[in-house]
């Protein structure tokens, strides 16, 4: 019998079952709490704890949003949080960039200053919150926006500095030197060459600082009361002696997510872009 030539089967595209399962599970893991939170925020109060759960309310309602934003002053908290977090983020990025550049390029303070900066975060916040509270009350910063902005700037600066320090360290010096020879002052070389190149690092540090400020609870709780209170502190009102206000808590949580997600989307492009590509030999 003549040997039969092996028939070459067209290669079938295999379905990556494992990958789909893994991604599906991960998606469920991430989205389920969001769904639950959103669902709770539009459920009438009677549907919170039913068995079986109400998967989607037949009569969605916005009453919890109204209550959370106005009755519980969630909107004021949101505005305060935006003012304080954005200001602290900008200041932290500004000072962090300047300080990190100085550490990276001039070796300011020798080899120990940079680590000393980071070491400030080793201190548990509870260790300083009481003295800070007393000082703030003494100098009139208690329950003010500016007071919390200062506290948050100081609080986020070590991480901003450290992130930017690493970034500047990794950037070749020669481009700034070329700018100096080309006719720039030290400041212009920093501003027109180093800063644009460090943009991805600055954005990353800023996002980090913003998230830290946006979610900060402890300092806000101690250092503010009726005026400069931030969004996270509003949440504690939802667990009171009338029981838990699930709907209002969920509604405010949804609202508080919006800026973080918007920031993430805006910053993503910068976070990913590698600007230094092609600068030096490739």
């Amino acid at each position: 019998m003549a040997a039969v030539a092996p028939v070459r089967r067209p290669k079938r595209r295999s379905i990556p079952v494992g990958r789909i399962l893994l991604l599906g599970f991960f998606l469920l893991f991430v989205l389920w709490p969001l769904y639950w939170m959103f669902n709770t925020s539009i459920k009438p109060s009677d549907d919170y704890l039913t068995v079986p759960p109400v998967w989607f309310p037949s009569a969605p309602t916005l009453v919890h949003y109204e209550a959370a934003l106005f009755a519980y002053r969630g909107l004021d908290g949101l505005i305060n949080s935006l003012i304080i977090s954005l200001s602290a983020t900008v200041l932290s990025a500004l000072f962090g960039t300047l300080m990190a550049y100085s550490l990276a390029r001039y070796n300011t303070g020798g080899q120990h200053l940079s680590f000393w900066v980071l070491s400030q975060r080793f201190l548990p916040p509870i260790g300083i919150v009481l003295p800070v509270f007393l000082i703030y009350r003494g100098v009139g910063l208690y329950d003010t926006h500016i007071g919390l902005i200062i506290a948050y700037t100081v609080f986020t600066l070590p991480v901003s500095v450290w992130m930017m320090f690493a970034y500047f360290r990794g950037m070749p010096k020669s481009m700034e030197e070329a700018a100096l020879v080309d006719g720039c002052t030290r400041w212009e070389a920093f501003w027109r060459v180093a800063v644009p190149l460090a943009a991805p690092g600055i954005v990353a540090a800023a996002v980090f600082a913003f998230i830290a400020c946006w979610t900060e609870f402890f300092f806000a709780l101690i250092l503010t009361s009726r005026t400069a209170f931030t969004l996270p502190t509003v949440f504690r009102a939802f667990i009171g002696f009338q029981g838990a206000q699930y709907g209002e808590a969920a509604a405010l949580a949804i609202v508080s997510l919006v800026p973080s997600i918007a920031l993430g989307v805006l910053a993503q492009r910068h976070l990913v872009r590698g600007l230094t590509l092609g600068a030096v030999r490739g």
């Binding site: 020879v181 060459v193 030096v280 030999r281 490739g282």
Partner: protein
């Protein structure tokens, strides 16, 4: 256009003494190459001239003006960096025009000068691109464009070709030489590559351990090296060094290498030489040729060599043999020799040979 005068220059980094007292005069329009092994201080010297490093001691004058306390931007120099140092966030046109803009030149003039520089370097079609979209050679051209557009008093080059592949390096070397011929501005060029130094320089400054070992026209250094270091650094393949002793007999001098006695060319001055002094005889491959004439010419020593290593390059063959126990390389015509083990008469041109003191390794 300007001359450069460096007097008593030192540079220390903490305990490390990178430049240890340099005196150097560079004439207006001269192409000077600072060459030496890595760590010899040549880049530090260049960066000090640019103002990117502060000198620890000594003065730097550009165009008759002491510039020690000038910022880099006020020295009116342009520099091409080893890694090109293009600004990655700017287009090629912006890169080239950056220095002019930084000096507040009106925009139409910036554009005109950028266009002219781009035309000179043949990179006009690239003006709208970004550095990451360019090849190595194109980036190098942009970096040179950024330097020439400013029309500076001095050009500084810090190993500009070392990141390019061999073929492109040859090409760019020619272009830099042509650029110097065209614009005739003072250029100071750092390299560790002796071929670049020999081909580009009006004057070579050969450095070693933070000091100038020898300076002069390329052929002067090549033909009359002041030390074994200079002799060994310039020329490829390297000069061969043979240990021997000097024989002085009245006006005639010779070098004894084991059983061979090689007469020193008559009329050659031997500074401070003494009879029996241990010396090193330096022979370049091109000082040795296959003997064709019946008798050796004046100043030539004939030796019956047994070739033990042959390296053909096509047009030439490098043949290694032993002379008084030491390996010597001869540059022969390809048809002079066919295989290792061959015996052939070699003429050694003692007129061009170098003689060094064996202890100090300085030329005598």
């Amino acid at each position: 256009m300007a001359e450069v005068r460096i007097t008593g220059l030192h540079k220390r980094y903490g305990a490390f003494h990178a430049v240890r007292g340099i005196d150097l005069d560079i004439r207006d329009g001269e192409f000077t190459v600072l060459v030496g092994p890595s760590g010899c201080g040549k880049s530090t010297l260049l960066r000090t001239i640019a103002g990117l490093e502060e000198s620890s001691e000594g003065t730097i004058e550009i165009g008759g003006e002491v510039v020690n306390d000038f910022r880099p931007r006020d020295r009116d120099v342009a520099m091409v960096f080893q890694d090109y140092a293009l600004y990655p966030h700017m287009s090629v046109a912006k890169n080239i025009g950056f220095g002019l803009k930084a000096r507040k030149m009106p925009k139409p003039e910036v554009e005109a000068r950028v266009a002219e520089a781009a035309r000179m370097l043949g990179i006009t079609p690239l003006l709208g691109r970004f550095p990451r979209q360019l090849s190595g050679g194109q980036r190098q051209r942009v970096a040179i464009g950024r330097a020439i557009v400013r029309n500076p008093r001095i050009f500084l080059f810090d190993e500009p070709l070392s990141n390019l592949d061999a073929q492109l390096r040859d090409e760019m070397r020619g272009e830099i030489k042509r650029l110097h011929q065209d614009i005739a501005t003072t250029m100071i060029y750092v390299t560790h590559d002796q071929i670049e130094a020999m081909t580009l320089a009006d004057r070579i400054v050969l450095m070693r351990d933070g000091l100038i070992e020898q300076q002069g026209a390329p052929l002067d250094l090549f033909e009359r090296p002041a030390s074994t270091f200079v002799a060994g650094f310039l020329g490829s393949p390297r000069m061969s060094f043979l240990p021997g002793t000097l024989k002085l007999d009245g006006s005639a001098a010779a070098i004894r290498l084991a059983d061979a006695l090689l007469p020193v060319a008559p009329g050659r001055t031997l500074n401070g030489a003494t009879d029996g002094q241990p010396v090193l005889l330096g022979l370049r491959p091109e000082h040795l040729t296959r003997a064709h004439a019946a008798a050796p010419a004046q100043g030539t020593f004939r030796y019956d060599a047994t070739i033990d290593l042959l390296q053909p390059t096509g047009s030439r063959s490098y043949a290694t043999f032993r002379l008084a126990g030491s390996p010597v390389m001869a540059e022969l015509q390809a048809h002079d020799v066919s295989r290792p083990g061959e015996r052939l008469p070699i003429d050694i041109n003692m007129n061009r040979a170098s003689i060094f003191d064996a202890k100090t390794e300085r030329a005598i």
